[in-house]
Symmetry: C2
Subunit: 301 residues, 2 copies
């Protein structure tokens, strides 16, 4: 029977992931689809306990460190944004009220940027974790995903960041658009083609989207080629716009492996020095670092 020293939680809009931890070691893992968007304020604690009640010891308080949308205004409790430029290390955490006496729950604050206006919740923990894993690292961290982020890091600070709607656009077009019947599977050549088209003429994106439909009708464009080209078109447009972030920089990618490979391949074509890293390990390292800081925070008051 697993008994956690502490519990790490990544709680996004559409997912909940928990890890039973002993120091920096993972003892057990669980996940559900009880993301922030599905839950009313009173439903957060039951959703958490449904996954990790077995890891708690009777008569003992277990610390839970969470990051992500759980700290938004619509979350369990709001953990106000920290404003960039700021230290990559989270401080202070926000404590969420709990009913179960075995829980002590802390939420990592997100980051906000005044101009251009931008926000993140969750990625700041991955950035902090990556820096904890790579002390002294300077450069740009790319976090592909539904809302992909580019984060400029220098001397342990988040200098600036920029979010792109790339992943959400891909999902919307695959699920709801006129293109949806023409997209399925993956053909790497299609990805490369889309990437080059967008890097060459990024402003032609919305014309090229309809082109996928027209080629399906007129030229029997294969659905696997079409879906991969769509991804290439969108990522290419993102890279064209993110040029101030990657030009002359080294880039670390933190993301789900398939998507991270696509971004790495794209940056490689642009001769950008790039390395992909495990995003889950970065999340856990970031939550562990936040926990250490939280201890200091608690002791200092």
């Amino acid at each position: 029977m697993t008994q956690a020293d502490w519990i790490a939680v990544d709680w996004g809009s559409s997912h909940l992931r928990v890890w039973a931890m002993q120091g920096s070691e993972v003892l057990a893992h669980a996940a559900s689809d009880q993301g922030m968007m599905r839950l009313a304020q009173a439903e957060f604690e039951p959703a958490l306990l449904a996954l990790c009640a077995d890891w708690l010891r009777p008569g003992r308080v277990t610390q839970v460190i969470a990051c992500g949308m759980v700290g938004s205004r619509q979350g369990w409790v709001e953990a106000p944004y920290r404003a960039t430029p700021c230290s990559a290390q989270a401080m202070p955490l926000a404590q969420a009220p709990t009913v179960d006496p075995r829980l002590e729950l802390w939420i990592v604050p997100g980051l906000k940027q005044a101009s251009p206006a931008d926000v993140m919740r969750g990625e700041e923990t991955q950035v902090a974790g990556f820096l904890a894993q790579h002390p002294g690292w300077d450069g740009v961290i790319c976090l592909p995903g539904t809302h992909s982020k580019w984060v400029h890091v220098s001397a342990g600070e988040v200098v600036s960041f920029q979010t792109f709607l790339t992943g959400e656009l891909f999902a919307l077009l695959c699920q709801h658009s006129i293109l949806r019947h023409s997209l399925s599977g993956w053909d790497e050549a299609g990805f490369t083609e889309g990437l080059e088209l967008s890097l060459d003429r990024p402003e032609r994106l919305t014309a090229r989207l309809f082109g996928l439909r027209a080629e399906a009708l007129l030229l029997d464009l294969a659905p696997a080629h079409a879906r991969a080209r769509l991804s290439g078109l969108l990522i290419g447009a993102e890279l064209a716009a993110a040029k101030p972030y990657w030009l002359g920089q080294r880039v670390a990618i933190l993301g789900e492996s398939g998507l991270a490979r696509s971004y790495a391949a794209a940056l490689d074509r642009l001769s950008v020095p790039v390395a992909a890293h495990d995003v889950t390990l970065a999340t856990l390292a970031g939550l562990a670092a936040a926990r250490t800081r939280m201890k200091d925070q608690t002791c200092a008051r």
Copy 2:
């Protein structure tokens, strides 16, 4: 009681519009949501009769001239695309099988372009109608809509055209994206702002989309401003990409009035000579011209 000389039909993916005609005069009009996407092959004739049965005379055959997605492979009967460059005037029409002996139904073929691959169904009739209304007109016709089109017309021919997914992207983002709660109403200043941002840096589109969300969270961006800015961002990106079409040309806009006004305002900022025209009148003129040609076609065989 209306008795039609002939019946004009505009039958798109999501709508059906019919007019009882006497020569070029409209006697009556009806519409429903029985678009092509909702109908199986055998349901087209009942959907049409539901709107226009009262206009038919017993013992007399009434010609029905239709354009739009009704002529696609998933429509009533396929009217094969004509390939550009080609005359703007439709020929030959495709006859659809009918059960009711009072109906004689003809469908206008769409247009296809080999490279870059592109297709249209319905807009070719609006273009032909506009040219029938303006004999000898040369220039570019812009047809805003779900899939907006730019059509280069010279000496009565469609030389080339280009479709953009602009309107569909706007609808997807308003209805299904994370932005959906931040968008409602219309503020002209927001449209102008979005337009200028995209004309200046069209490749930054997907970053600016997330910016709408961030400004709503951090700066209480008004939903009316956000929705109009989204429209401006998308139309601005389309105009940036359509530059080869409008640069040094005169442009005629055929579209629903509010959207046509937005495109006209945008082109005006770019100092492009532009005039907006009634798209329904163009559709009816195009269907009337197709009917005349169909008569010639029928007599010639």
